[in-house]
């Protein structure tokens, strides 16, 4: 891959959460012998991705696939258990709070829930000024005012409402304010974690247009986390499909939707309800999604896959690049078992 174009590189990230609680919760008896048992949620397992400058890379998957965890690891909100995050070639996952500050200016995040992502006790002005004052202690009040007004106009919130509190706004407007907070430091890279999932359809379109416009005007690079495939198709340059903390497929958006390779991607795509197409036949998956506490051996998808054989239950498939540039982790695809 062309490393010159890479803005963020995610290398073999593993993130497990220990949910076993205190000593007493861990205590278990096996054959009358006490032992401590740890319960870990294996949220992200050995995921590598390169995010190129100026692109919108979407990570899709169903709930519990680790996409939001991955986003937070990239943002440095969770330290990874192993693996590296590089930003413009510099390693950022092991930095101290102070060392991280210059990167914080360049990387911002937009959150899912517009009702929880704004501090209810702060006015729009306070919310938007805080990052500016923090990163530019010497900035004049006049400059701050100018910047805040400009960014508010850009996201379509009337600057006259600057003194209002979040509860005085609708969900869509709050999400605009949240985006304004993300943009105010003029970042290069934005992680958007399900930014439109909590919004109504007509508002969703407004916010997506806003994000795309901001992306064009400011040459932003997006890491877009979502479960909504129709949104993904609309905005992405490339798409990464995750299942149970692992990457199944990574492809250009058009390739992914036209010629999906991984059996899971196929099932996922066939399940999107499309307006005006009744009775679409979708691929039924066997069984249920396993919990990330007890990951299946081999390919994590094997228990639900129609193509699964012995190899899939024993050996973890590696991500392989196909002729058209699509990367896919599937033994069946590698062995040409699946006709496209």
């Amino acid at each position: 891959m062309n490393t010159k174009n890479t803005l963020v590189s995610i290398n073999n990230i593993v993130k497990h959460f220990d949910i076993s609680g205190g000593m007493l919760d861990q205590l278990q008896f096996k054959n009358f012998k006490p032992q401590l048992k740890k319960t870990t949620v294996k949220a992200v397992n050995n995921v590598s991705l390169e995010i190129r400058k100026g692109e919108t890379l979407s990570v899709v998957g169903e709930s519990g696939c680790g996409k939001s965890t991955l986003a937070r690891v990239v943002m440095g909100l969770y330290p990874p258990n192993s693996g590296k995050i590089l930003y413009n070639g510099a390693r950022i996952d092991n930095l101290t709070h102070k060392q991280m500050l210059p990167f914080r200016k360049k990387m911002q995040m937009i959150f899912q829930d517009p009702y929880a992502s704004l501090n209810p006790r702060k006015t729009v002005q306070q919310t938007l000024e805080e990052p500016l004052r923090f990163h530019n202690p010497k900035i004049s009040n006049k400059d701050i005012q100018k910047k805040v007004e400009r960014v508010m106009e850009q996201v379509g919130v009337d600057p006259l409402w600057i003194k209002r509190y979040p509860h005085e706004f609708s969900g869509g407007q709050r999400q605009r304010i949240s985006i304004a907070r993300g943009l105010i430091l003029d970042p290069e890279f934005i992680v958007a974690d399900e930014p439109v999932s909590a919004l109504d359809v007509s508002i969703q379109a407004q916010i997506l247009n806003l994000l795309m416009k901001a992306g064009r005007e400011r040459q932003l690079t997006y890491l877009f986390i979502t479960h909504d495939l129709s949104v993904v198709r609309h905005i992405s340059t490339r798409v990464a499909v995750m299942y149970l903390g692992t990457l199944c497929e990574l492809a250009k958006a058009r390739d992914l939707f036209d010629t999906p390779q991984h059996p899971y991607t196929k099932a996922l795509l066939s399940a999107i309800p499309v307006v005006g197409e009744n009775q679409a036949k979708h691929i039924k998956l066997k069984g249920e999604v396993p919990t990330p506490v007890n990951l299946p051996a081999g390919c994590v998808f094997h228990a639900r896959c129609v193509y699964a054989d012995d190899r899939c239950t024993n050996q973890v498939p590696e991500l392989r690049t196909l002729d058209n540039g699509t990367c896919v982790a599937c033994h069946a695809v590698e062995e040409n078992q699946i006709s496209v």
Partner: protein, 319 residues
């Protein structure tokens, strides 16, 4: 010709401290045996309130202030609470978005299922259990005997929603009202649940009212749609017709704002400016007029009525 369910000029109000506000403003629709109707709209449109008012389950301070609801020829809107209880959960069942709203976390699935039958049908425990098993099989729950002894928290979200559907089927209802039944679920599971509901309607000749914000889901499952906006039905008719040739500018905008319908990837989506008015300040005339690209003077003064257009009904002055 009498319909299975007929809602005529239904009006629901909420008594609040500054006076009554109208949540549902004179809506009418009908449902035949085995028919699938979609109630579509964004949050605040009044679609859930409509669902609740059919089974007279609006909680205070809401009340039905006008209109008639007839079910199987009887006017159920005039029924007493105890008489209504015999219909609710028996002839008309309801499925909610969050399965945990219906399932009691401290009882096993089996207890919750047999309880319904013992209450509504005065059955013995053994009989009730047999029917419960049969319904669990019907919704394709693997190893149903085992599930009867399990508690709700031991099941996944998709499985819980299946259990809920099985519970709503226990009494062989004539109508199922499903309020956003798959919003909390993943797409692959959503597709399975929708298939299941559709199949059940066909095999048992059951009618379905699907309340959702997702036009995609509605267009795949239902035969008829009522699009709601600010407490009114603004477009009503056959699904195919409305989805392919929407008349009302709101429906049109709603469909076009979904990525992947008409707009190519990367281009700006068609967006409806502004947002749904709150119930306390619904605009004069057509409630949609501040957001509408076809707005003329008449839209701000007169409220449009539903009228026939292209085989469907739409409430718009300009069309």
């Amino acid at each position: 010709m009498s319909h299975l369910l007929n809602v005529e000029d239904l009006e629901v109000k909420f008594a609040l401290r500054f006076g009554d506000i109208t949540a549902i403003d004179g809506i009418s629709f009908s449902l035949d045996k085995g028919e699938k109707l979609g109630l579509v709209g964004e949050s605040g449109a009044g679609k859930s309130v409509t669902g609740f008012s059919i089974i007279n389950l609006i909680s205070k301070p809401g009340f039905i202030s006008k209109g008639r609801i007839t079910f199987e020829g009887n006017e159920i809107s005039a029924y007493s609470d105890s008489k209504m209880r015999q219909i609710r959960g028996d002839r008309i069942s309801m499925i909610f978005q969050d399965p945990m709203m219906t399932l009691n976390p401290v009882f096993t699935i089996g207890m919750q299922m047999t309880e319904v039958l013992m209450a509504h049908r005065k059955m013995s425990k053994g009989q009730a259990r047999k029917i419960a098993l049969e319904k669990l099989k019907k919704v394709y729950i693997p190893s149903p005997e085992k599930r009867l002894a399990q508690y709700p928290h031991e099941l996944s979200g998709g499985m819980r929603q299946r259990i809920i559907i099985a519970i709503s089927l226990l009494t062989d209802p004539a109508i199922i009202i499903a309020d956003e039944p798959t919003t909390a679920l993943d797409v692959t599971i959503q597709a399975e649940i929708m298939d299941l509901l559709q199949e059940l309607c066909e095999s048992d000749n059951m009618a379905l009212i699907l309340i959702t914000h997702d036009l995609g889901v509605v267009s795949q499952v239902t035969e008829k749609i009522a699009v709601m906006y600010a407490g009114k039905i603004i477009e009503y008719g056959p699904t195919d017709q409305i989805v392919k040739h929407p008349v009302h500018p709101y429906t049109e905008g709603l469909i076009k704002s979904i990525p992947g319908t008409v707009i190519k990837p990367g281009e700006d989506l068609v967006q409806i400016p502004g947002m749904m008015p709150t119930l306390t300040n619904i605009p004069q005339g057509c409630a949609f007029n501040p957001r509408c690209y076809l707005k003329e003077d008449i839209c701000t003064t007169a409220t449009p009525e539903l009228k026939q257009k292209n085989g469907a009904m739409a409430a718009c002055h300009m069309k």
